[in-house]
């Protein structure tokens, strides 16, 4: 098998793709000409902002125009695509002798948990992870290692200052470093009414042993447990960090906390793995290069756990060049391409890429790998976007002191249950 041979029938075709304008996609568009040279298949990549990319795809798929030959979409959208029959399972390609590169073995080469979470739906495989994202803890290693701080901290809290291993420590550290007069805050919550809030909150929820639905995989429906006692505890804990976050915290999403971190105003927070590069490595935008440490999210009653998210390569059913698209995706999943993409700010799903020497040099490699191991799925049902919307709204209300945590989560549970219908009764009924 060789790529040239496999691609011969598709020489000269142009395949078109769409994704979010992010470094890994930019990296991909730089790699594409190599592929064209090898195969004669031209790849055009459209780069849009996150929601633009999602909406464009929704419109294209639902109008059945077939403009895109493969798409790169966040995995939470998958349910919609699959149930509407918009995307193509890739097992036929994996079984095809002409197309399948025998050296490409996803069932061995990828983080299985992540792959299943990101690209599978109801036991069927629809693609491969474009990025495998997870969140972990960022902290200022220089502050935590500072002798004077250590002394003071020990005197006050009675134990040694170190990266937080559990949530109590996390809060203590946050409190300790909150010094508005010095322009320093213990943490930064992403409290804006925005998906970021939900993503961040999920880390607390999972870690406290809660979940939204009682289900084993993202594509499964199950009883609503979003208002479980664990969830309420997680939510209340989450808000208890608000005093240690800067005053504008209700207006933050990932953008702002990134900026705060880069400016060195925050001691620790929970943040995305693929954003790390811009804080820890890129000196043109960050003042804290070399002063950062990374670790998994602190442990709670639910154990050490991370919420996983990812963008996935998918092939629309209306695509006219599915095979060529598959060949390109397969090529992109190769070690070399993955490595280059990862070094340019991507987040690969291949452990062997993480293991490479270049990647290991990055200060956050270990934390990333650790998080990827414990990534937990979340609903990818067709209605999951609306579930998110409901939760974001209610959580935002709670943060703005309009409601108590219980009220907010009860209301969310009710709405989600109504949304999902009979498959999702409320496990903790509201009177």
């Amino acid at each position: 098998w060789s790529l040239e041979e496999a691609a011969a029938p598709y020489k000269g075709v142009t395949i078109r793709s769409i994704g979010e304008a992010l470094p890994p996609l930019e990296a991909m568009s730089k790699l594409a000409p190599e592929f064209e040279e090898l195969t004669g298949i031209k790849v055009e990549i459209e780069m849009y902002e996150h929601s633009e990319a999602v909406n464009k795809v929704m419109l294209d798929l639902n109008s059945k125009r077939g403009r895109y030959d493969f798409i790169i979409q966040p995995h939470r959208e998958l349910g919609k695509f699959v149930t509407n029959g918009n995307v193509q399972p890739v097992d036929s390609f994996l079984e095809s002798a002409e197309l399948r590169n025998p050296e490409f073995k996803p069932e061995e080469q990828l983080y299985q948990g992540l792959w299943k979470e990101i690209s599978w739906y109801e036991q069927k495989v629809y693609g491969f992870p474009f990025t495998a994202l997870s969140m972990y803890m960022w902290y200022r290693s220089d502050l935590l290692a500072d002798e004077k701080e250590k002394e003071g901290f020990k005197a006050k809290y009675g134990y040694d200052l170190a990266p937080a291993a559990n949530w109590d420590q996390y809060r203590d550290i946050a409190e300790w470093f909150t010094r508005p007069d010095q322009g320093l805050y213990g943490t930064a919550l992403q409290g804006k009414r925005h998906e970021a809030l939900w993503y961040e909150w999920l880390n607390f929820l999972y870690s406290f042993g809660g979940d939204m639905l009682e289900a084993k995989s993202g594509s499964e429906c199950g009883p609503v447990i979003v208002n479980s006692p664990q969830a309420i505890a997680a939510t209340e804990y989450y808000k208890s960090l608000k005093p240690f976050s800067p005053p504008d915290t209700l207006n933050y999403f990932w953008d702002d906390v990134m900026a705060l971190m880069q400016q060195g105003t925050v001691a620790q927070l929970i943040m995305w793995n693929d954003a790390t590069y811009a804080v820890a490595v890129d000196e043109s935008v960050s003042t804290v290069v070399g002063k950062m440490g990374f670790d998994t999210v602190p442990e709670g009653e639910g154990g050490k756990i991370a919420q996983a998210e990812g963008w996935s390569y998918l092939i629309p059913t209306e695509s006219k060049n599915k095979e060529a698209a598959y060949l390109f995706i397969q090529w992109m999943m190769n070690y070399d391409q993955q490595l280059r993409q990862h070094l340019n700010g991507g987040a690969t799903s291949r452990p062997d890429v993480y293991a490479s020497a270049e990647v290991q040099e990055l200060p956050y490699a270990k934390a990333s790998m650790a998080s990827n191991e414990v990534a937990k799925p979340k609903p990818t049902l067709p209605q999951s976007a609306e579930m998110t919307d409901i939760l974001v709204r209610e959580l935002s209300s709670f943060l703005a002191d309009e409601k108590s945590a219980k009220e907010a989560l009860d209301r969310s549970a009710q709405e989600i249950s109504a949304l999902l219908g009979s498959c999702a009764p409320m496990k903790y009924p509201v009177e």
Partner: protein, 308 residues
């Protein structure tokens, strides 16, 4: 207005044959490209179409969506009243300020070409950019405006505009005023400049002071223009979206969830197209009713007597 204009009122310059080809392209364009889709939207509002829910594939359900909207959707009503307040406040402030600025320019500035152009700058920025700019300016930690607000003591050091629920809407209104006052200024200025001189001279001779001239001559002559500005601004304010979406996303909580944001969430986030269409239709209906009342009250009177 000079008499030339007066005597001709009621005389029809164009008969139907000549009018038709002039008015037809516009009408067709609107009918095909707006009324068509609008009709489709109206139909969608009576279906359960949703791209997100595999069970809802566009079955006709009559007025069910509307029933749910009116009876059973507190968020809609919250957004509704919020939007009404927003429109009334923003548009009236914009109108008063814009009118005053236009009047000052008209009255006192001879060489106003550059000045007017510069005044229009806020309007020239895309709403998306306006949202981003103000987000940067009002950011709690490194926003330039926030910094000076803190420094001047107008805002307590430990708070930020968009994290203080009570400040969110006033700020959004202020930004809207900043952005759209130039629009009012531009149109009113154009109106002022094409005002005829004779009636003002006549009023001067009749003994009317500046204020009476303003009230009795200028305002009535400008009435169609004023109505135009208020209508256009009112309608556009009703649809205000980009800025608020970028600035607050409707939050904190639902403090700034305008109708358009709500509609966006329903249609574009949740892909609940049927219900979203119903929301949109309600928005349309409300705007339509408000405009009709306003139009009948203000515009028709002057348009019909055709004094202009």
């Amino acid at each position: 207005m000079n008499r030339t204009a007066q005597i001709s009122n009621g005389r029809f310059l164009l008969d139907r044959g000549a009018s038709l080809p002039l008015i037809l392209p516009a009408t067709i364009l609107v009918l095909v490209f707006l009324v068509g889709p609008f009709g489709y939207m109206t139909y969608t509002a009576m279906t359960d179409l949703s791209y997100a829910n595999p069970d809802q594939n566009g079955a006709f359900i009559g007025l069910e969506n509307f029933r749910r909207l009116v009876r059973n959707d507190p968020i809609f009503w919250n957004s509704f009243w919020l939007t009404i307040r927003f429109v009334l406040l923003a548009v009236s402030i914009e109108f008063v300020l814009g009118f005053a600025i236009a009047w000052l320019i008209w009255r006192f500035i001879e060489r106003q070409r550059l000045l007017t152009t510069l005044l229009l700058v806020p309007m020239m920025l895309a709403p998306v950019a306006v949202g981003l700019i103000w987000r940067l300016l009002l950011q709690g930690d490194f926003g330039m405006v926030t910094h000076y607000l803190h420094k001047s003591g107008l805002l307590s050091q430990s708070s930020a505009v968009f994290s203080t629920p009570t400040l969110v809407m006033p700020t959004i209104i202020a930004i809207d005023v900043w952005q759209w006052t130039p629009f009012v200024t531009l149109i009113i200025l154009a109106g002022l400049m094409s005002l005829p001189k004779p009636p003002f001279e006549a009023a001067t001779m009749d003994g009317a002071g500046p204020w009476r001239q303003f009230r009795d001559i200028l305002l009535p002559l400008l009435r169609p223009i004023i109505a135009l500005v208020l209508l256009l601004r009112g309608i556009d304010a009703f649809k205000e979206f980009d800025k608020v979406f970028i600035l607050t996303g409707g939050g904190p909580g639902t403090v700034s969830e305008l109708l358009s944001i709500y509609a966006y969430r329903v249609s574009f986030k949740n892909w609940n197209l049927g219900y979203g269409a119903a929301v949109a239709f309600m928005v349309y209906l409300v705007v339509l009713i408000m405009c009709s009342i306003f139009y009948k009250a203000v515009y028709w009177k002057s348009a019909d007597t055709g004094a202009r």
